[in-house]
Every structure is written in C-alpha cells, then in structure tokens.
C-alpha cells in the first residue's frame, strides 16, 4: 500500500480513511494483536485519532490520513467496513469498487495498481465497463466534529 502510494502519488490523490475498528479488543470479534496493543472501540474522536496515529507510526505509513467522524458517516456512505478500496475518476465516477473485507482488499490493490499504471503511462483513464453507465446520485456529507 505504501509502495503504491510512493509510486503513484504524483498522478493520483491518495487518502487513507480511518474508520471504526474491525476487530477491537473489546469488540464482538477481537483479534489477538488488538488485545496485545490495547486497540479498543473508539469512544471519542480523540480515541480514533490516537489509534490512527499508532497505525501510521507502527507501519511506517505516510499516506495522508483522514478520520471518519463518530457517526461513521463516510464509512456508511461507502459501506466501507471493515476495509475497502475505491478509485474515483476525474469526472467523479467510481472506477474501482472493491468488495469489502480482506478478501476484497488485496485484489483491489492489485487492480488499483494496474489502473494507475495505465493512467500514468497513457494519461488516459481506463474506460468504465459497459454495465457501469448508470450514474448514482451523489450525496454530500458534512463533517461533524462535535463528538
């Protein structure tokens, strides 16, 4: 992920969006390392920011990071939990919509790299598939940091 960012950061705008935990130590399906690192469900936006800071630091990630609000509005708008990849064309339409979860994440990174490679090489955005002609209705979400 970091390598892809370093390779294509000049030709694409990358954002890591930190959302609610997938397997927090105090969640329904905790993973062992969440218990070891004390990663818990976020009660406040400060909790979420602190955990995001840890993720970036411990994994040497330099991708610009955004923090979803405590209403999980962006997460919900994109049905992004537990993790998910999207690529947005310059016309605002979705070029890549990955399946959510670990089964979708790795294949989506490979697809994204191919897409970006073609974009970088040709200066042309790869065409959308034929069944993608129907544009969805855009929704706008305003950040709320009151939580």
């Amino acid at each position: 992920m970091e390598q892809m960012y370093q390779t294509y950061r000049e030709v694409a705008d990358f954002r890591l969006i930190y959302i609610r935990e997938a397997h927090a130590a105090d969640g329904a399906r905790p993973v062992e390392y969440a218990k070891e690192l004390g990663i818990k469900e976020h009660r406040t936006l400060e909790d979420r920011c602190a955990t995001a800071q840890s993720l970036l630091k411990n994994n040497a990630l330099t991708i610009p990071c955004l923090i979803d609000n405590m209403q999980d509005q962006v997460n919900q708008a994109y049905s992004a939990w537990p993790d998910r990849v999207f690529v947005i064309r310059t016309d605002g339409r979705l070029a890549i919509v990955a399946r959510p979860g670990p089964q979708g994440f790795a294949p989506a990174l490979r697809e994204t790299e191919q897409w970006l490679s073609e974009w970088k090489r040709t200066g042309q955005e790869p065409e959308l598939s034929e069944d993608a002609a129907d544009a969805g209705r855009p929704r706008h979400i305003t950040e709320d940091r009151s939580q």
């Binding site: 955004l66 609000n69 979860g101």
Partner: protein, 77 residues
C-alpha cells in the same frame, strides 16, 4: 404430550432468537459487512473530513477533477 409441546415451544423460541440475532449488529454495535449499493460508474458520494496530521479539511468535491482519487478505508484491527 406436555413434554413434546414444551420442547416444541422451546425450539421455536430458540429459532426466533437466532433469527433475530442474525439481523442485528454485532455485540458491540459493530456494523455487519455489506457491499451497499455503490457500483462502478456511480458518482462517488462526496464528503468533508479533517486530516489527522495537519488538521486541514479535505473536501472530495475539490479534489475530483484534478487527479484520480484513491480511497483506502480501514482500521488498525
């Protein structure tokens, strides 16, 4: 006969509770995984969020049109 009825009632209650649980969020309120309705070619839902490092506001509407945008959603766990 009473025992048979009791078993039947208990079984139906257990089945109903299980079916209800399947339709609910996780124990901690965690959302169930869903692909949602977004498809390739749909307009990306716009949003405004604050950055972690520099506290600057990111407005997707301002970024679209300049370069493609790659959104990577996730968490530590």
């Amino acid at each position: 006969m009473k025992i048979y009825r009791g078993v039947m009632v208990f079984g139906l209650c257990a089945l109903a509770m299980h079916a209800t649980a399947l339709g609910q969020p996780g124990r901690s309120g965690a959302p169930l995984r869903s692909e949602g309705t977004l498809k390739v070619g749909h307009a990306a839902p716009t949003f405004v969020l604050r950055g972690l490092e520099d506290d600057a506001v990111f407005d997707l509407r301002e970024s679209v049109g300049v370069k493609p945008v790659v959104l990577l959603f996730g968490s530590y766990s």
